[in-house]
């Protein structure tokens, strides 16, 4: 990450979790590293850096996308939501986060931010999934600990929690 004549720093401004954030970084800075290294938002995790594991998944204009496959310079045109933007107060968890706690859907937690963003976007479009659909919804994210059963349960529980919260505003 050193600066050199061949790799000049650019002022990059990205709207993250509703706030415009600026940092100096080279053009080759991946959005995942921009979030983590330049903005200190370490909730977004980095596993494979080629789009396969899903750990770095963030929301770009509300849709799930791999932060490791996007350059921060390109992200300037978009609204980015990270897991911190989904919920960061333990006393006021998002339904997906709450469901992960209740269903014991994480062990080491490395994969969890990517699951939370992915599931949150999925439930926006599919508020009432079946167990099969829940499994399909997480097929682009890898978890090396849980065996997925509890994550599937958490998708269903999160859908329930979202409906409950909508019912009681």
């Amino acid at each position: 990450m050193s600066q050199s004549a061949a790799d000049p720093l650019l002022d990059i401004t990205v709207r993250v979790n509703g706030v415009r954030r600026t940092a100096a970084a080279p053009a080759r800075r991946l959005l995942s590293d921009f979030l983590r290294h330049d903005l200190g938002l370490t909730g977004t995790h980095v596993g494979c850096e080629h789009g396969v594991c899903g750990a770095c998944t963030v929301l770009v204009d509300g849709e799930p996308a791999r932060a490791c496959l996007m350059f921060a310079v390109t992200a300037q045109a978009h609204d980015v939501t990270t897991v911190e933007g989904i919920g960061h107060d333990p006393a006021d968890l998002d339904p997906v986060q709450q469901a992960f706690v209740e269903c014991h859907a994480l062990q080491c937690g490395f994969c969890t931010p990517g699951f939370v963003t992915t599931i949150s976007a999925y439930l926006d479009e599919h508020p009432d999934p079946s167990a099969d659909e829940a499994r399909e919804a997480i097929s682009g994210n890898l978890c090396r600990c849980t065996g997925y059963q509890n994550i599937v349960a958490a998708v269903l529980r999160a859908a329930e929690l979202r409906r409950e919260r909508e019912g009681t505003p």
């Binding site: 061949a6 850096e49 080629h50 791999r66 496959l69 350059f71 310079v73 992915t118 682009g140």
Partner: protein, 290 residues
């Protein structure tokens, strides 16, 4: 790993993009959705000195449906095409196929035109392009040209595109009224690259098949069309000569072995998927294989 340093260009128009491409020559690469290019850069399988990021180019993000075709601009994401009801109504094969491209998080950014330019034999949309007689609209410093999908693909990851050319849009051809289409593939996990896949277009007159064509995913070096009409014309729906179809597919495909599956298995899979898709397409049952 991280990409090597590059100079980032952010043209706002097609003309600007082509001018930069012409200026940087073979040291430049078009960056569209980045879902194939960025992994290559991250793994340092390539390290171009210039990236021409076309994401800010105006006017490339539209889908247009006419009587003859569905025109998909270079910045239309897989997810946008998948959601487009007009495109799905005009050419159902588009939605049938594009929902098999990777996972939703990849479809958010990846472009349909980018997957044609990338020319991966495991891509779904190249197979759809050849089956529908698609035409690619290409612009470069020497002007604009139109390239038929049949002829665009030269080999795995290889096309007739020059380094300074930009694909502006693809026009997928609409099929004659009454043509039914199907798409089926098999992957180890839903969303992964398919071990084998097939796109199918079948025309019928009442209960009788009058024509049928297929193209394949992951089992031919370049997508091409297998005309099944000689095998199927005149056959009655419900009593199709499926063994002959199996033979024709097995003779046509030319899969390679890799760590995911052997060539024999892929050949068998391609034939079986074609047979199943043919049966479900002609009986009107929606194709739902994962």
């Amino acid at each position: 790993m991280k990409p090597a340093p590059f100079v980032h260009h952010a043209p706002r128009t097609v003309e600007e993009a082509v001018a930069v491409l012409a200026q940087v020559g073979p040291d430049g690469k078009v960056l569209a959705g980045g879902q194939s290019l960025v992994p290559v850069l991250n793994m340092r399988l390539a390290s171009p000195g210039h990236l021409v990021d076309v994401n800010g180019v105006a006017g490339l993000d539209t889908v247009e449906v006419t009587a003859e075709h569905v025109r998909v601009g270079a910045l239309v994401r897989h997810a946008g095409l998948e959601r487009h009801d007009g495109a799905a109504a005009a050419l159902p094969l588009l939605r049938q196929a594009v929902r098999h491209v990777a996972h939703p998080a990849i479809r958010t950014r990846g472009t349909t035109v980018g997957s044609l330019a990338h020319a991966d034999p495991a891509g779904e949309m190249p197979a759809v392009a050849v089956l529908t007689g698609a035409v690619l609209e290409v612009t470069g410093p020497r002007g604009t040209r139109e390239v038929a999908a049949d002829g665009f693909f030269l080999g795995p990851l290889e096309t007739v595109l020059e380094a300074d050319e930009l694909v502006v849009a693809v026009r997928f051809g609409r099929l004659p009224a009454g043509t039914r289409t199907g798409f089926a593939e098999s992957a180890r996990r839903s969303g992964d690259y398919a071990l084998a896949g097939v796109a199918l277009a079948v025309s019928t007159d009442g209960n009788t098949v009058t024509g049928a064509r297929a193209s394949f995913v992951s089992v031919t070096p370049v997508p091409d069309v297998l005309v099944l009409t000689p095998v199927l014309a005149g056959a009655r729906v419900g009593a199709l000569p499926l063994d002959a179809v199996t033979e024709a597919v097995r003779a046509h495909v030319d899969p390679e072995s890799d760590i995911h599956a052997g060539a024999d298995y892929r050949r068998m899979l391609a034939a079986e998927l074609t047979v199943r898709s043919l049966v479900s397409t002609t009986t009107g049952v929606r194709e739902g294989a994962a």
